[in-house]
Each structure stands twice: as structure tokens, then as C-alpha cells.
Amino acid sequence: MNSDKITKIVLFSVSFIILFIAGGMVFSLVGGAIPSFKTFGLGFITSSQWDPTEGKESYGALPFIAGTLITSFAALIISFPLSFATSLFLGEYYRNTRVAKVLGTMVDLLAGIPSIVYGLWGFYVLRPFLIDIGFENQGFGVFTSSLVLAIMIIPYATSLSNEIISMVPNDLKEAAYSLGSTRYEVIMHVTVPAARSGIFAGYILSFGRALGETMAVTMLIGNANIIPDSLFSTGNTMASVIANQFGEADGLKLSALISIGLLLFVITGIVNGIGKLIIKKMN
């Protein structure tokens, strides 16, 4: 056998293992989710009742789906101006300068901080601060979690957009300059449009990250199993209810938690799919 063939076989089997693991996960999630979907049907997704009391058990995932989507969207909106400005600064205005290198490293560092540390910071620093300035009453809820989530996802959007922005061909930009464009016009009419699919991919990535974030959110959202009725209301997310409750769960409740895991998997898949579709359209 020649080395080419061996390489091919090795690569094929390694990729196959990944496919096998992902498939196995879906399989076991679906298997575990069957009892709760059998009991509640599609009502599991639309019901906002989460009652684990013995004898009148009833589970619905709507509060958690709502909590997850609301916190993640809010985080995306809050993080957008910050990460967009930073990526322009790094990739366009101060490209290849010392300042950009230091700042870029700091942004990457943000991505490396464990989420429990963000949670602690949110709990002991940000929350009391929000109460002190009179912005919040108790400090637990959707707003505080979204704020911390926003900071957590900044590096994902920033790094990718920055990379793409600095890859926009100089020829394009020089052509625009030679036509008399100002720097602002070049950015708005050349750089950003040329890099938009990459920038967009960065935000999809960070949104996906926000969807699955667990620890920091658990510490700040208040873990009340209700649909948040305002930005300052408490709530709960899909990842956080699983982390909180699987320990003592059995029977139908365990199945309900696994179903939420499956739904989270599906939602993440849909978000990625939509993202890919939009990127394709843009190109």
C-alpha cells in the first residue's frame, strides 16, 4: 500500500468517528426524549407549565426556549456595536500596529476566560453595581445575564470580522480612494460590503455561543421557570435548567430535560443553517 492510500484511509476513519459520535448523540437524545414527547406531544414545546410535583407532573419547554432566545438576542444586540467597532479599529484603522496587536490579544483573552469567572464577576461586581446606580431592583434576570453574555461573545464576532476585514484586497480600497472617497466612505461602501458574509458568520458563531452558555447565565438569570415578561424579569434558559435539575431528576422529568437538550441541539442547528443560507445569498 502506498502512503497516499494509507493517509486516505486514516483520514476517512477519523472523520467517520466524528460522524459516528454526532450521530450517536442525536440517537441517544432522541431515545431519551421519546417518553416526554409521548406524554405531552407537541404541547411540550408550546406549554409554559413546569411542575415537577409528584402526582401532577407536567413539563413544557416554552419558558426555557423563550429565555434562551431572548437572552441570546439581547446579548447579540448589546455586543454588536462593541465588537463591530473593535473589529473595524483592529482590521482597518490600526491594522498591523502595536496598539492593534495589544488590543487584539486582549480580545482573544476574553474568549479564554472560563464562563464561571464571568458568572462570578457578574454576581459580585456587575449585579451590585446595577443595583447601586438604581438601574435594577434585585439585579437578577434577563438584563444582567444578557449583559454578561454580550461581553462573553464579543471576542468571537470581533476576531472573525477583524480577520475578514483585514483580508479585503487593497486594490479595491485603493481604487475607491483614487475616485476621491473619504476613509469613512471606503469602509462603508467597499470594506464592509466586501467582508459582509464573513462578518455575518462571526455573529452567527457568537449567537450560537450565547445559546449554549450555561454557568454564567445560571448564576444571574434567577432560575425562575417562567416566560420573562420584561427585560428585567427573572427567567431561565434551556442550558441552565438542564444543568440545575438533572442531578435529582428521574423518569419523566429526566426525559423532559433530555428533550430540552434535543430542542437546544435543533435550535442551534437551525440557527447555523439560516446563517449558512444567508451567507450563501450574500455571496
Binding site: P52, T53, G139, M219, N223, N244, Q245, D250
Partner: protein, 354 residues
């Protein structure tokens, strides 16, 4: 094909040999190690006494704090020598176990009502106040109903924030069992369980999460396991017991909850005890094991060591350690009943202890 079969046969033979080798080693009584898992509530107590036991008797005891539910599951699956739980098995659960199971009470704990109101000490809570605060009917600390029960206390005009557990817990079970006993409204709307459909408030993970949230938030109130609350600097409310007395949770008042009559199988929730000195939100924690110890090829030595350890655990020597880690020791009556149950445990039909 023949090659595969012969490999399989060899493998089976090999494991069989190994098994029998293990068995002889065990029955010769050389070294037996015990494995157990279950409730996290008594974990500090078990860690301390099992370590002492290993040091003095040489038997290694490993206890995994995986939660009461996990303890029951592990015993059902027969992967541990004994399990531990904060809620006794109901008749239905007992019937579902693969073999008869007995309960051994090991110590008492309580659920403390902790709060954060600077300058407001010795808050007194009646049944009615507990019901209304935890159902969300009273929302301000300066509510006249709280003031009427607490003459002389300066109550602020702050919102009440109820902090409950976000994870399933035996602590929640004891708390809700008490609430169900004192309030029909609670019984109807919420009920008893390890996790509940909470009418108000926010959740925090574990006792440390609840205490952390309360101590960080002025106006917060919540329930915390005594084993954790006693080791923290936190305000605790006096709770009215069934004799109308307001009692602060202490080792003595928790122990007093077990002074009433206890059934022979010790399966009783001690909440709302009739003893006038008792703190009303108290309860046993149990170790559960099979009544017939000869199962899954367990050796006699393994069974003997299991029962001996538990017999020592309810002895005065081990019980004296309880208070050091903030648990209340068993009353004499409870310890005597536990010993009687241990003497009913058999190996191949013969009593192990006598």
C-alpha cells in the same frame, strides 16, 4: 469462525477464574472496602465519621455525594453496598425495589429560614406568615402582618425576594413537607417534592448558591440546610412550632424534634414535631440497604463489614461527632430502633449481628 469462538470461550474462562479468585480473597476476610453513594445533605458528617472509621478499623469506606435520587438508583442497580437518602422510600418505591430494603437513620438535620435585613434580628415567623411570604401574598417587609408578629422590630419598606433552590434537593423536600403540613393553601397550590413549581421567587444552585444570593441581596429570604447554614454568618428566623413556641434552629432544638414516638421502621418525617422545644423543620437522614445481604455474589465478609460499619455509625461514639459538623445526634430511642433494624439484617437467612 472457529478462531472467534475459541477466543470467546477463553475470555469467558478467564473472567470466571478472576471472579472466583476475587471471592476467595474476600471471604478470607483480608481487606474489604465499602462503597456507598447518595444524599449530599449528610456528606460532611459521613466524610468525617467514615474517615475516622477507616483510620481506627482499617476498612476503607468510599462515599459519593451524588444526591438522594442517585443513592436510591445506585442501590437499585446494586452497584453500592448501601445508599443514602434524605427522603424515605414510600411504600410504592419500596415495592419497586428488587428486594426488601431497610432504613437506618444516621443523624438529624434541619432547614433554616435565612434572611438578610441589616439590624433586624430574631425575626419571628408564624405558620401564617410563612405561608403568605412563600406564596407571594406578602411582598413587602414592612407589611403590617409581619410587624404585628414582630413588635419592636424596625422593618424596612423593602421588597421581599424569596430565594429557593434551582436544583432538586432533599432540603427542598423537608421544607415543602413542612409547608404542606402547616398550610392547606400550600398543599393545594405547590405540594411536596424535591423540586417544585414555585409560585414566586428566584432559584439558586445548592445551599451555597442560596446563602450567597441571600447574603448579597438585602430583603432576601430563603431556606437553607442547617449543616451549611450553621457554618455561615447569616441571619436565621425563629419559626413557630406546633406548640406555638418560637424556636431558633440549634443542635438541641433539632434533636428535640425526634423526641416523639418513632415507628419501628423509622420511616417518618419529623417536621412539625409535637415537642414544645423542637425546631419544626427538622428531619432524619437515612442509609438504605438490602435486608438480605447475600446478593450479586457478595461475600459474607463484605456483608459483615457493611452492617458493622452502620452499627458503629449509630453508636454513641460516632454520634458524638455529629454536632462538630453541625448535625444533631440521634435520640436514644432512634438509635435503639436503628440497632434493632440492623440486627434484622441477614446473610443467607441468618442474622449477621447478634
Amino acid at each position: 469462525m472457529r478462531a472467534i469462538i475459541s477466543v470467546l470461550v477463553l475470555a469467558v474462562l478467564f473472567t470466571a477464574c478472576q471472579n472466583s479468585a476475587k471471592k476467595t480473597e474476600k471471604s478470607s476476610g483480608e481487606k474489604v472496602s465499602l462503597t456507598a453513594a447518595g444524599a449530599t445533605f449528610p456528606l460532611p458528617f459521613y466524610n468525617l465519621v467514615f474517615k475516622n472509621y477507616t483510620e481506627s478499623k482499617g476498612t476503607l469506606v468510599t462515599y459519593g455525594g451524588i444526591g438522594s435520587g442517585g443513592g436510591i438508583r445506585s442501590l437499585t442497580d446494586k452497584v453500592v453496598d448501601f445508599g443514602a437518602t434524605d427522603a424515605y422510600l414510600e411504600d410504592k418505591q419500596l415495592a419497586e425495589m428488587p428486594a426488601p430494603v431497610v432504613h437506618i437513620p444516621t443523624c438529624l438535620g434541619a432547614v433554616v429560614i435565612a434572611y438578610n435585613l441589616p439590624g433586624v434580628d430574631e425575626l419571628k415567623l408564624s405558620d401564617e406568615l410563612l405561608e403568605k411570604i412563600f406564596l407571594g401574598e406578602i411582598t413587602k417587609w414592612n407589611d403590617p402582618q409581619i410587624a404585628a408578629n414582630n413588635a419592636g422590630l424596625k422593618l424596612p419598606a423593602k421588597d421581599i425576594l424569596f430565594v429557593h433552590r434551582s436544583d432538586g434537593s432533599g432540603t427542598t423536600h423537608i421544607f415543602s413537607d413542612y409547608m404542606t403540613k402547616i398550610s392547606t393553601k400550600w398543599a393545594e397550590k405547590v405540594g411536596t417534592g424535591k423540586s417544585l413549581n414555585w409560585p414566586v421567587g428566584m432559584g439558586a444552585k445548592g445551599n451555597p448558591g442560596v446563602v450567597g444570593t441571600i447574603s448579597q441581596t438585602e430583603g432576601a429570604i430563603g431556606y437553607v440546610g442547617s449543616e451549611f447554614a450553621f457554618s455561615q454568618k447569616i441571619q436565621m428566623a425563629k419559626v413557630q412550632n406546633s406548640k406555638g413556641e418560637y424556636v431558633l434552629p440549634t443542635i438541641a432544638s433539632v434533636s428535640a424534634a425526634a423526641k416523639g414516638s418513632i415507628p419501628d421502621d423509622t420511616r417518618i418525617m419529623l417536621t412539625n414535631s409535637s415537642d414544645p422545644e423542637s425546631y419544626p423543620i427538622s428531619g432524619f437522614t437515612w442509609i438504605i440497604l438490602y435486608k438480605e445481604q447475600s446478593y450479586n455474589g457478595r461475600s459474607l465478609a463484605q456483608a459483615e463489614e457493611t452492617v458493622k460499619l452502620l452499627d458503629w455509625l449509630v453508636s454513641t461514639e460516632a454520634q458524638a461527632e455529629a454536632a462538630n459538623v453541625n448535625y444533631a445526634p440521634l435520640t436514644e430511642d432512634a438509635a435503639a430502633k436503628a440497632k434493632a433494624i440492623l440486627r434484622s439484617i441477614t446473610y443467607d437467612g441468618k442474622a449477621i449481628l447478634n
